[in-house]
């Protein structure tokens, strides 16, 4: 008997009588979701900038990031930054990226996380290998909690997707919080009103 058959047979023989799945009903909270998102994200090391249009994002980036370093922009509306050169087919060539700008699907108020899928990443490695990461999120696209987030993802056919909440961090050395463990050292979120 193969290990697969052996394991499955043992599981089948040993599992107890079926216990039903619970219903998922949770409260949403009264607080304004956008405010909550901003507070929580700041608390976990993210930086929120509210903007009225795409132009303001371009201006902010030009002002705060050096042109001499590599910026990868994956958002068509933001033509003014980063150029439109297609990415190479090798994630290792992204090692020198200083700033990556991605259009997140939505944010989650209770934990400051942003959902992003492969199709909006340019390359799967980009959100992790870049030194700094910026997201653009529509202000309307903030959901109160993870239950609402997953109800949006019920039929999602993503091949790779991730929630990103703040910059990469570690507290492994004596519980001292350090931003920029292996991934981005900073996370910038542009909340755009549309």
């Amino acid at each position: 008997m193969s290990s697969r058959e052996k394991i499955l047979a043992a599981v089948h023989a040993n599992q107890p009588d079926v216990s039903p799945l619970p219903e998922l009903h949770f409260s949403i909270g009264e607080e304004n979701h956008v405010d909550r998102f901003k507070t929580v994200l700041a608390g976990i090391g993210g930086h929120v900038v509210e903007v009225a249009n795409w132009n303001q994002i371009s201006e902010f980036i030009t002002l705060n990031f050096s042109e001499s370093k590599r910026i990868v922009n994956t958002i068509p509306e933001l033509t003014a930054v980063g150029g439109s050169k297609a990415l190479e087919n090798d994630p290792h060539l992204l090692e020198d990226v200083d700033l990556a700008i991605l259009h997140g699907h939505f944010g989650v108020a209770e934990n400051g996380a942003i959902w992003i899928t492969e199709d909006r990443m340019g390359d799967r490695a980009l959100p992790f290998i870049t030194q700094h990461l910026a997201f653009v999120i529509d202000k309307k696209e903030i959901v109160p909690n993870l239950h609402e987030a997953y109800s949006r993802l019920e039929t999602s056919t993503h091949q790779f997707g991730t929630f990103i909440a703040g910059p990469s961090k570690t507290a492994d050395i004596e519980q001292s919080l350090v931003l920029g463990a292996h991934g981005p050292k900073s996370l910038l979120v542009f909340l755009i009103e549309r």
Binding site: L8, Q15, P16, P91, Q159, F160, T162, A181
Partner: protein, 454 residues
């Protein structure tokens, strides 16, 4: 050496014990704050518990569904009954790609299987990429905590370790600086490793995707820069549907460190173009445990480490005193199921205060199981010789009223007149404690004197 002896060793440095104790309690407090700020916290715990009950009761079906879905997305699914088989499978995949350097993000399962040792014997250089795990790996130690692998290390010692292995300046113990040095050092490994191993926090039966949570981004960086992703998971890591992730991800990081969620919660469903993805499903005693009404619930664990941080024994004895991959209260109820002879001491490494059960996000009855394991271990004859002799003596004394009376009187007389008979090193209860002053009479004597008269 057993838990008590290893804890003795840890306890030699009292100021370090105090520091260890306080650091972990601080994390427990962060967990409390996060829990209190989350509406429906108790509802989340009971819901998570019920979902896991359902998983364990329908695991056969869920495993098949998970395998089918994963295969539909081109993922190769492997099954391993034993740690050896798991290690062989992983090695054969690495071998097939002809590489000798690989990266691995945190996976308690691979610790349980001693994968690193196995691969290193076969000439494969494994680099643990989680910072804490890298630190203990450089020191040639196992992790002492499932979430905080080097919680027992002081920054000065890490500075010294990095000076020796990474060439950082001697005497520099600044966490920011040391983390930056590790980032540089590990970036090189990420850039050159063609195989990346990750653990799995949740495997979703409905979709065949696996979810991996990290704060550092090391799992993602490893996988996305490699040609091959090997995800290793215990069969109990399955959850029924994607929407159930909402429940577990709300609980996991808050219980672990007090964060609202880990920085990265990545959903791997299909390999990137040109990449291979493998999932190794490991049993190692889990299917057998499923049959036990008393101990099945331990399989609900989501490895948050909350029970470690709250445990008065763990905080004061350190993770290495548990001599097992998963330490702490949950480790003490998992390990005896794998090897009662080797780990029969662990259920006794507890005060049975119940704090672990109280903080567990999936409501495992940890302290009840610790107590039940004690009974099983003594019945099966795996208790230590001194414990067995003590139990026998207690049985004799407690089951016979006249022996009990004489023993009580003798004890009181001894403490009063010959205290050195009990106040000595042979009596472990005397360690770090004074013996009490003996009362003049027993309750029975007092009762006979006072109540019978009225």
């Amino acid at each position: 050496m057993n838990h008590a002896e290893l804890a003795d060793h840890f306890n030699k440095d009292e100021s370090r014990v105090d520091w260890h104790d306080k650091t972990l309690w601080y994390i427990r407090e962060k967990r409390d704050k996060a829990a209190w700020q989350t509406p429906d916290w108790e509802l989340l715990r009971s819901t998570a518990s019920q979902i896991k009950n359902n998983v364990l009761s329908n695991l056969h079906e869920y495993l098949l569904q998970f395998e089918r879905k994963a295969q539909q997305h081109g993922v190769t699914v492997h099954w391993a009954s034993t740690p050896e088989e798991h290690n062989q499978i992983v090695y054969s995949i690495i071998q097939k790609h002809g590489v000798s350097n690989i990266v691995k993000s945190k996976s308690m399962l691979t610790e349980e299987c001693h994968l690193n040792e196995y691969l290193s014997r076969h000439g494969i250089d494994v680099v643990d990429t989680d910072l804490g795990e890298r630190i203990v790996q450089l020191a040639d130690e196992p992790p002492s905590h499932i979430v905080l692998p080097c919680i027992h290390w002081k920054k000065e010692e890490i500075g010294e370790l990095f000076h020796k292995h990474l060439g950082t300046p001697k005497g520099n113990a600044d966490p920011q600086f040391l983390t930056a040095a590790a980032r540089e050092h590990l970036r090189q490994r990420f850039m050159t490793s063609k195989v990346a191993i990750t653990g799995v926090n949740f495997g979703v039966a409905e979709t065949g995707e696996v979810v991996v949570c990290t704060n550092e981004g090391n799992a993602d960086l490893g996988v996305q820069l490699a040609d091959v992703h090997i995800a290793c998971m215990g069969i109990e890591k399955i959850i029924p549907q994607r929407k159930h992730l909402g429940v577990f991800l709300r609980l996991l990081a808050r219980s672990a460190t007090g964060q609202p969620i880990t920085t990265y919660s990545s959903h791997f469903r299909k390999a990137r173009e040109g990449q291979e993805m493998h999932i190794v499903l490991v049993d190692n005693g889990r299917s057998e445990r499923l049959a036990s009404d008393d101990f099945r619930n331990a399989l609900k664990c989501i490895r948050c480490g909350a029970c470690f941080n709250t445990c008065p024994v763990y905080r004061r004895s350190g993770g290495h005193s548990y001599h097992t991959a998963v330490a702490g209260p949950i480790g003490s109820i998992l390990a005896p199921g794998l090897d009662m002879k080797q780990h029969g001491d662990l259920p006794f490494a507890s005060t049975l205060c119940g704090s672990c059960t109280h903080v567990c996000p999936v409501k495992i009855d940890i302290h009840d199981q610790l107590f039940k394991w004690r009974q099983v271990i003594v019945q099966k004859g795996y208790a230590s010789v001194s414990k067995k002799a003590g139990m026998k003596l207690m049985t004799l004394v407690l089951s016979n009223p006249s022996v009990y009376k004489i023993a009580g009187a003798t004890g009181r007389w001894l403490i009063k007149y010959l205290p050195f008979v009990v106040n000595n090193r042979l009596n472990s209860w005397y360690k770090q404690r004074e013996m009490p002053t003996a009362p003049k009479q027993s309750f029975n004597e007092w009762y006979n004197q006072n109540r019978k008269q009225s």
